[in-house]
Amino acid sequence: MHETSLAMGLLDSLNQMAEREKAKKVLKVRVKIGKLSGIVVDSFVFAFNALKEQFPKLAGAELIVEETPTLYRCRACGHEFEVETVFFPECPKCGSVDLELLSGEELEVVDAEIEV
């Protein structure tokens, strides 16, 4: 359910950006969502599309979601690997748990295309 709050926050900030840039409308917005972010992408897209009608400049905006994988680097041996699970993994090469998370927690608005 918090996807709705986040979608509303995104629309608000896009609307402010559109005002600031004196845009006629926003055409596209690109967001990156990691698999560990706790966001259900379908719910987020649904909420975005349901709520965008409230903002005249955003009503036609297309939301492009890029899902990023859960990627770790092992600090012991340097091996980089991707996992599907949310559980804390071990390095498949050397068994170490001293890992650095490279991606997976992203929740970022990357950019937007606007018409001026």
Binding site: H2, G9, M17, L27, V86, F87, F88, L107, V109
Partner: protein, 253 residues
């Protein structure tokens, strides 16, 4: 905290947009590079600065409805109210009931009703804390923020707390950590409540601990019962220790 309502002096982060000019003159690309949580996180950071400045230990309690967050708070207030000033922000969708419960035990409390939202967000905590300061005519040593009963959404919203506590009660079942990984990954403390019911449920404490630690190796775990008092002293001592650390950090700072 107070850059939000203008009652303090802080640096503001200003936004800059970067243009990438494309061939089509009527279209342009605006680089944003901003977290979806950026507004919440900005207010949360300012909440935290405010807590730090006044040496307040802030604790965010997260669990399903009915795990015993309010009961644990009642016991904690009874035990610590003579040595520490305790303030509580009670998050619920509706009613003042929980705030009334903890006030009856002798703590200051402000009820935050979200009116439908399934989690607390930093701006509501900011507003609620100002109301609490007024009620207390000063600052608490410990601030408990009792989140809306929900193991999912509250784990995504940082409120400015120093310690996040996730609770599950024995009757809820031993598969909670595996089913709600984010709550366990983002917490610092895990409390298993209603341990007096262990004889009646298939709840393997060691298995649950192991599963929780595999999600988050840094979790500190307590097993408690508000009914029998089991494990409560360890929890109280942990709080005393953390309050001391906070006060010491304030003196040094």
């Amino acid at each position: 905290m107070c850059d939000v309502c203008g009652c303090g002096q802080h640096d503001h982060e200003h936004e800059h947009s970067h243009f990438v000019v494309s061939d089509d003159t009527t279209k342009k690309n605006v680089e944003i590079k901003k977290s979806l949580f950026s507004e919440n996180d900005r207010v949360a950071r300012s909440n935290r600065e405010h807590f730090d400045r006044h040496g307040i230990l802030a604790i965010n309690l997260i669990s399903s409805p009915g795990s015993g967050k309010t009961t644990l708070l009642e016991k904690t207030i009874e035990a610590l109210k003579d040595e520490l000033k305790i303030g509580v922000l009670e998050g619920d969708i509706e009613t003042e009931r929980d705030a009334e419960r903890v006030r009856a035990k002798g703590a200051a409390a402000v009820q935050l009703t979200t009116g439908g939202a399934c989690h607390l967000e930093a701006p509501l905590v900011h507003k609620g804390f100002h109301a609490l300061e007024k009620q207390m005519e000063g600052y608490p040593d410990i601030l408990f923020i009792e989140n809306v009963g929900n193991l999912v959404c509250p784990s995504s919203f940082y409120l400015g707390e120093h310690i996040r506590v996730v609770l599950i009660s024995v009757p809820e079942g031993e598969d909670k950590p595996a089913k709600y990984p984010k709550a366990f990954k983002t917490s610092d403390v895990f409390i298993i409540t209603k341990s007096d019911l262990l004889p009646y449920f298939d709840f393997d404490v060691e298995k649950v601990k192991k599963e929780a630690l595999s999600l988050n190796p840094n979790l500190k775990i307590f097993v408690v019962s508000a009914k029998t008092g089991e494990g409560l002293d360890e929890w109280f001592n942990f709080l005393r220790e953390k309050v001391q650390e906070k006060k010491a950090a304030k003196v040094e700072g």
